[in-house]
Symmetry: C2
Subunit: 155 residues, 2 copies
Amino acid sequence: MGKEIERKFLVSGPAWREAVSEQHEIRQGYLCNDERANLRVRIVDGEKAYLTIKSGRGLTREEWEYAIPLEDAGELMEKCAGRLIEKTRHLIRRHDLTFEVDVFAGANEGLVIAEVELTHDRQEFERPSWLGEEVTGDGRYTNASLSQHPFRDWT
Amino acid sequence: MGKEIERKFLVSGPAWREAVSEQHEIRQGYLCNDERANLRVRIVDGEKAYLTIKSGRGLTREEWEYAIPLEDAGELMEKCAGRLIEKTRHLIRRHDLTFEVDVFAGANEGLVIAEVELTHDRQEFERPSWLGEEVTGDGRYTNASLSQHPFRDWT
């Protein structure tokens, strides 16, 4: 099990783009999603595939992840119709931290979210100028929720 | 992906016990379960662990299965409190087929179900005398359902 301590922010302006060191195309879908856990299948850059179980809400979540054959992931993704997320993930390394800036496409186009993974839940860190409002714990911004209630349908 | 074509029956009497060639202790739980798919974690004989995704209902279901570390399975099983199944699985080989007779324990004690996996959905087979009423397609008898609505609570 991994413990994921992650804070999530909106992003203001395009200044973050100058600092990107790496980017990846992510397609993911949710095979099941209930009050206890969700099951995600993810394909990165059309090449690598993972099955991930996440449990818990908010700042600290538990996570189990397994690499799976790409062919399986393709089949599983077909079961996720209507619960898909497409995004480009940009990695920005600052001091000891990596910020992931996700630019969503498809039904979530227009949404840009930055996440930073911390090692403990009260860890201080220097905020880049482009980091906007914090949305950690706002359930609407979880990818599982966005896959079923996409940004473009928000009123 | 595996395609699982499986028929399921109640069992009448103890005559099947004479034909058992192998048996295994199974503990399993459901991490998530919704209308599309369910995610099962299973530990066999306290030694081997698997993660299984099942999709579909009734006679023919799709299935993806991955071996996972026993330690992970123990952690995942803790997330399944209130959605657990304990049973002893008995294998009975007859001609080219294997019948699995599951004797349930815990909240499903008293329930005995025989399953047989077929290679196509209209396959004929000789029924052992101890095979009772067919319950294929009766959703109450799926293990996912039994984990949440156990046999002892049926009225």
